[in-house]
Symmetry: C2
Subunit: 182 residues, 2 copies
DNA sequence: ACCATAACTGTCCGATCGGTCAGAACTGAC
DNA sequence: GTCAGTTCTGACCGATCGGACAGTTATGGT
């Protein structure tokens, strides 16, 4: 064996990213990664100071890219600011799709392993939000609302009193869905 | 001791919800919950068949409420369908805010424990998306976009080819932010 | 061929966790 | 007071995990 150090590190990160994205961080043991790579658990700890260091190294590129984007738009304002930020942010989430996914698969695994069948409910909710349409624009917008409301409602950032928060979430969601409220 | 069974179950669920929402499901041990309740770990397992059963029982009301909402809007269509779904969904996320939060705190804890400082970056991103505005409507919309893009980009639901997905995410986000693209 | 160094591994350890079980403590009905 | 049934607990178990460490194997420069 004894591959080059950098190649080995790359293989470890690749396996870790794939396994984390399927079973989550805590749901993946060092032994799992070692087996996937084809080396011993001790070898992982020779190349990385600990399990968390692997995790950190996986997310650092995404973090750096986000920081770079924010620096890039720091000087802008008004329409240009918003547009560039949105486009850059969307591109980042697509580029680092797997890295983001690994953050959620911990949840996904938990929510499915038991009799909770959130998948089916999420699907029905998506259908309703899309107005039963199957067209990609409507589906994408429905996903945006599903995720946006979910996260915004759960945030502890006291952005506004609950009544205002509720009203603005509804208005924003309807805008997202391109739906002029009656 | 020997409280009434139902009162005990209530206390356990209350403590579990609070602890799960702070340290996450896997980050909270049965001993943690027992200490918080003021009983033994074995006592928890007398009232609940296992750790997952506690988790399930915590999320079941939210799941039932969502199912009820979907049944309620099942017969609607067009504008009424979308509006009622959005309002109902927003209300649900606010009502079950703590339950949703417990799903995420596993992530939050992970993302902060190391040198990754996602919080500061998320704050800067929020500012940019809101066009540096501090007004609640702009802030809420920025949160909706931040969460919506994050989740939509990470979903494995093949809703559209990547180019279409990207374009529609950008269009949706700009609509959410009430920003007419140039 | 030799050897210093890098790469790698088998084995062990302490800690933690979810869960079991026999029995103690408490309760209310009689 | 007695007793059956409910509630509760300390002690223990097996499994798993992240990590430490001494020792082995491969590598590349000389």
């Amino acid at each position: 064996m004894a591959r080059s150090a950098s190649a080995m590190r790359g293989q470890i990160l690749e396996s870790a990213l794939r396994l984390f994205a399927v079973h989550g961080f805590r749901g993946t043991s060092l032994q799992d990664i070692a087996s996937d790579v084809g080396c011993s658990k001790a070898s992982l700890l020779y190349h990385f100071a600990g399990k968390e260091k692997i995790f950190t190294e996986l997310l650092t590129p995404a973090q750096d890219a986000l920081a770079a984007l924010l620096d890039r738009v720091a000087g802008l304002e008004g329409g240009r600011l918003v547009e560039e930020t949105v486009v850059g942010y969307v591109d980042l989430t697509l580029r680092f799709r797997r890295e983001i996914r690994l953050l959620f698969e911990d949840i996904a695994e938990m929510s499915c392993h038991q009799d909770l069948n959130v998948i089916e409910l999420a699907d029905r909710l998506l259908d309703a939000l899309a107005g039963r349409s199957q067209h990609p624009p409507a589906r994408v917008a429905a996903w945006m609302v599903l995720g946006g409301v979910f996260i915004t409602g759960a945030t502890d950032d006291e952005v506004a009193p609950d009544e205002v928060l509720r009203a603005e979430m509804i208005r924003s969601a309807l805008r997202t869905l391109d739906h002029t409220p009656s």
